[in-house]
Symmetry: C2
Subunit: 169 residues, 2 copies
Amino acid sequence: MEKSKTDLPRRELSVGEVAARSGVAVSTLHFYETKGLIKSMRSRGNQRRYPRSVLRRIAVIKIAQRTGIPLADIQKTLSALPDDRQLLASDWERLSENWKADLNERITKLTALRDQLTSCIGCGCLSMRDCPLRNPHDTLSEKGTGAYLIEHAGEDGDGAVQTARPDAS
Amino acid sequence: MEKSKTDLPRRELSVGEVAARSGVAVSTLHFYETKGLIKSMRSRGNQRRYPRSVLRRIAVIKIAQRTGIPLADIQKTLSALPDDRQLLASDWERLSENWKADLNERITKLTALRDQLTSCIGCGCLSMRDCPLRNPHDTLSEKGTGAYLIEHAGEDGDGAVQTARPDAS
DNA sequence: ATAAAACCTCAACTAAACTTTAGGTCAATA
DNA sequence: TATTGACCTAAAGTTTAGTTGAGGTTTTAT
């Protein structure tokens, strides 16, 4: 009889084992592989076999994703490691420092937004001229797709919230 | 001659005018309309005509988006206003309170992540057993798609980062 | 009156991050 | 041995938030 499954930790893991241990779906592992985020060896029968270190790699990917970093960027960062060796503590240190910076930026922006929200709840104006919420000059780079406020000469009282006074004829 | 364009502020705005004033593309306005986020009247010639209040509505939509709320939710919230009247200060107050709460939650999560990142940079372990980054029990609801850590009995030293010691034979 | 600019609809395309399906192979077990 | 469960590939589908294009109509300006 072969070594039973629970006997020694075998050197390599199947895709299903990696899925169970890492918490990501098998299809996701396939997907990550096509994106170059992880890689695998193959068994004689063409099934994926992973070194245990893939679990760490996946953990790192998931952490990066939680910080809001797109997979493509994660891939770039990971593949920029000198060779494709296992992550060392020093790598992790460098990566996490970078990601922490990104995260801090996002936190800063969201906090600013929240504070503006807080202060604008009192006034409730949403005036184009006055309200910081309406003119987020510092947020243009946030996924900006369209043109932003190219011109707003001829600004007239269009955006202001009415003081609650329903149907005053 | 008709009233010139720049003479009096006409009662209604064309889609292009709304686009220019609000900073969103015309195609986006069409799109928002299909999603029920805004609506329009039509001219004799079937062109969209908007009341000025649409600008405020769009401003609110954009603010909500900045907080990270998906359009579908924004739509639900806006359409839950008693009738489809203009936003009043009291509406804005209520909405922004809700959104602020969401935002705070997001900020809290990101901040926790950052702090974990900070404290884990020192140790660099990423150990499945010890590292808070590896087991974010409080983050399961964050876009969770796959199964999460259903079982990890038989945990063996798979995830730990090696102390920097390149090729120690 | 006519041409250009703005507008219309509908359908298809984009991007990210996956999942699902279809059709077939491999491996562990009763 | 036979069957089931795990695995394979490739392609297509899903969601969110839009954008782009084709083909045609309205408005506006000259």
